[in-house]
Subunit: 356 residues, 4 copies
């Protein structure tokens, strides 16, 4: 298994070499712990600047599940709940971590991983107009991911509409940006960190899937949520003793645009594969422009490719084909991509000919 | 502040250089995530071997607070509680993290950070003999640290006695070994990992304070606790996506005794300072043989030393002196130690003369 | 509003007069608290006898939401979850109470409030066969209601099949019997308390909706769940200080079949209304034989009836009609039922004629 | 055991006969559930009036443990904790119910059950001045009982001082009044409900121990805590379906001073016993003027009395005597009190003579 080429996820490698160099370079320096070091300070300044808001708080948390559960439980009173797309990461992939903090997830049907302002407004309205709402968990936050689990993007206008509904309904808006860089550098992306900051009460910028060893940078704009946020991080185990490791990595990622450059690279690699699959005539379960591809692939082809490559089986499509997830990352090499493309073309040659 | 020499904690630096080299060397290799990689496998095998028990489960968790809260909440039913020394880390330094999982901490008065088998037996007896115990949280686990928060050690016979009481009373024994290496290599230490494994239901071997960037290795012997332990780790956010980072570090630390060698070094460094302080005539709040020193220091001396060194102020002793904590670590250099000793001797010269 | 005749729920009145007499009669007697009194003892014996199992534990809990949350949290480890029909009371009507104990509810699509053994098996299978199940909450319990929220019944064979799947899959079976009496005395009901006890790990017999002032009797057969169950009741606030109030009521309800007799009365009253509505030509959202009716009613009729009667608006059916819930109970008088029927017939006379 | 005369607690009987009459009288009336009935409305108005504040919210909750846990968890964010006297009911008698909602209890040493404004100020100051307070649970609420577990009273000036510290430190003040009536009618009591309302953010008036079958009336003044409080009550299972049972009882208790009259009676009964014990020369573990007595009693006397009376053994005092708790209540008869006194005098006759 070890020798196969990985397209199964965006965390198959370590960190971008520039981060490793920086970690080695600073390794024996002495600093205070728990994020009270100059590197975290520097990273905070850079991120505040990119967000166009000097008043936001920036915290660095060890991992994504922790970031989700901390952000949500720091925001809600006991009876309050969070809206999530029904395929949201917090609902489907985190072992009930949100519920373990005491809060219910209220799901909203999603289309290609996305939900709309109208859906949120309607779901909130149903709650609000229910005379028996004392028996219902109270929606107080909206959780979405950008890009989504399916690699799709919210348009600026869609996000603005969601932010508007949230403001009108008194809901906090929380954007999970575990793959934010891949989203912001994708074709069709039409907003930046400044706009995201304007829309959200709280969001985070993922590191682990985009060049860091680990870690996520949470941006907290809402003052109610921001108060004592560090204590909630500590309570849930998200405060790294050697906090500088996160400061060093995020400084390096953001100081000259490395973060976006390597995300763009991943998108480019994905696009090469996407075009190849399209040429070979395959449909996609979801169309997108980011680093996750969801081709509907004949089982025989998947089986053949699996001798050389690791991809993720998602679900059965029909008797002879399945939905497969192919992921590229900042670390994906053009060599590996070309190898995959060449194998696809070779194996699909008859089909390609047929369609010619 | 940055230029001061640190004796404030054992996590002021990064990782032991050999670990950094290994992380750099493996950086671009591709592996599966979440601890299902060959490095975690290798580290598990090494640790099982050192524990003399092939049947224990070994898990690598991102941080100490997480390890404590996961180990405790995975073990207890809702009405159950954990005994802890009243100065236990879970009670005094983790922002209510155990209570946040729903469980009460029942404190036992500690002497120099330690509690005894007799105390545990008596406390459990009081619970058990109370006819109204339906109104009481049920003690089900004993949490102790080795070495303790005060750097003191349990003797083999003391640990055995505690393990016996736990077995008789149906209590799980959980040892927090965040500084286990410093304890096991200290003068007067009389047991090894094999004995610890025999005594405990669950314990952990600290990495972050002993040469790793971060991470703790939990050893779970009790089969009830062990079941689905990984799901509890994930639920609480302790499962690292790039789990191999922990496997690589723990493999390197344990493969040829590096862990114990660098812990011994820290103890030696501490002992040089200890002897110097004794020569200068200072008493200690607690006597111990590990890497944390607790001298009772005149405020004027502390003030003077603080211009060059960071130490931790613990509490006031009398009108003119305080309890100070001095920590050495795997990374403490002899140069810095000699500098500190020389400053102590210089500043205490009159006193030294006086006592001569 | 106060002078309207109530058909809105089965808890609009106090308790059956015989229970009130007994409470008055015993009012000044002195007993121990917290359920350790002779009345709770007597009620326990009677219930054990009806269940055909002397080894079950019986506990009396103040209310239904408490009974649900206590039964579930006493059964599950932190990472475990409970399957529930998507319209299950715990999912839709209890303000997130289960999640507040830390556990996720995994919903299964329900038909007329019911789920099947096949659905449970498939849902568990999907979990079990998922290689990434460390990221999923683990199903460990099945929650169903009998009768369901829609007043429908599980057949003996259906319940047996569910119990079989639970046993094979290692799932606890928990039956919410808040309206159990109405179910067991309904036409088409084909099992008794003995059979229910054989099938379940834990279930409860509702009091508040069936003749008591308040209170539910939980029957715990599974020994793992049963251990220290009283402590969990106390911890969650469900242990009544004057516990005998529950013992007195349940003794009286069960000592000579009062419970079933008054439930049967409610079903009879419901059936009179049901037949009347059928004669008037109305369809039902769900067909059932218990005390809750779900007619699809023209809005004009509902409006007219609402001047005299309280019913529950459930949801819109089409432009001119809605689903209405009509509830009878142990306390419903034939006079009120006849009054309602007569009003229905009067108001629907043209329609009745039309169809004649 | 059943035939002994009870002095073991203040909940050995049912309800005051006037309440039973009212419950019987209203038994078959139909009302809405969940506290939205005219009786709860009436009781709310009466209590608001007694509190001298039309803007407070009043809620009726099934039991004391529920009231404590709901009041506390509705007030705190996840990292926040509650100060309690070390013998506080929430810390020692509720099976870890507060921790089960996720919050730590921070204990303050108590003298005769009481804590002082100075202690609270000092404890908060220690937290606030700790530079490492990110590692500490944040005190945000003060919990005290009036009268205390030892039947002692806060003076008006002491309560005012505590309220002042709470205001300065941003702490909520929560008074557990499970026995409030016994306190407010005791000799030496110098404040009323109006003053209590001025001082507190939230408090409750106990029913179960003072004439009701069950139930506590919570008065919520603080607007932050008050918001959606009913949803938290429901979520934790404290919202009675037949909520009117609480409204009826509290209306009856408060409409013409019954509550205070019967509490005064209990205090008088206690005082008769107190004087008798003093005449017999016994010391008290704690001196107080309310309905709980804590004599230090020779074991032989206790043993002898125990043949006829139930009292509560509290703890050993010395080799030959123990601290015993004797409780009177609204239901204690003068006949039983005289019987006890006469037995004390008879059994202590030699001692009485000796001292004469």
């Amino acid at each position: 298994m070890k020798n196969k080429i990985e397209f199964s996820s965006d965390y198959n490698e370590g960190a971008h070499p520039r981060l490793m160099e920086k970690l080695v370079e600073t390794n024996m320096l002495q600093t205070f712990g728990y994020g009270l070091d100059p590197y975290c300070g520097e990273a905070t300044d850079i991120i505040r600047n990119l967000c166009g808001n000097k008043n936001v708080d920036v915290h660095f948390i060890v991992g994504g599940t922790l970031t989700n559960l901390i952000s949500i439980c720091a925001s809600l009173r006991p009876h309050q709940a969070v809206f999530s797309p029904e395929n949201g990461h917090i609902h489907t992939m985190e072992t009930g971590s949100i519920e373990a903090t005491g809060h219910k997830i209220l799901t909203i049907p999603s289309k290609e991983g996305k939900i709309t302002a109208e859906q949120i407004d309607e779901a909130y309205g149903e709650y609000f107009c229910n005379e028996g709402r004392v028996h219902l968990a109270q929606p107080k936050m909206v959780y979405i991911t950008h890009p989504t689990e399916y690699g799709t993007l919210y348009k600026k206008s869609e996000l603005q509409a969601i932010a508007n509904v949230c403001r009108e309904r008194g809901l906090f808006l929380f954007v999970d940006g575990a793959r934010l860089g891949y989203g912001m550098t994708a074709e069709g992306s039409d907003f930046d960190l400044k706009f995201l900051t304007e829309c959200c009460d709280i969001f985070y910028i993922g590191g682990a899937k985009q060049g860091a060893l680990f870690g996520e940078a949470v941006v907290v704009k809402n003052k109610y949520i921001a108060e004592d946020f560090r204590q909630v991080i500590k309570q849930r185990g998200g405060l790294l003793s050697k906090g500088r490791l996160l400061g060093i990595q995020f400084s390096e990622l953001f100081k000259d645009g490395l973060y976006f450059a390597i995300a763009k690279h991943a998108n480019n690699m994905a696009d090469m594969i996407r075009q190849s699959l399209k040429r070979a005539g395959f449909d996609f379960f979801v169309e997108n422009t980011t680093n996750l591809l969801f081709p509907i692939m004949p089982d025989r082809l998947h089986e053949e490719l699996s001798k050389t490559y690791n991809m993720t089986y998602l679900k059965r499509w029909d008797n002879t084909s399945s939905v497969i997830r192919i992921a590229t990352s900042w670390a994906t090499t053009e060599t590996n991509v070309k190898s995959l493309i060449s194998d696809i073309e070779r194996l699909c040659a008859p089909k390609l000919k047929q369609s010619a």
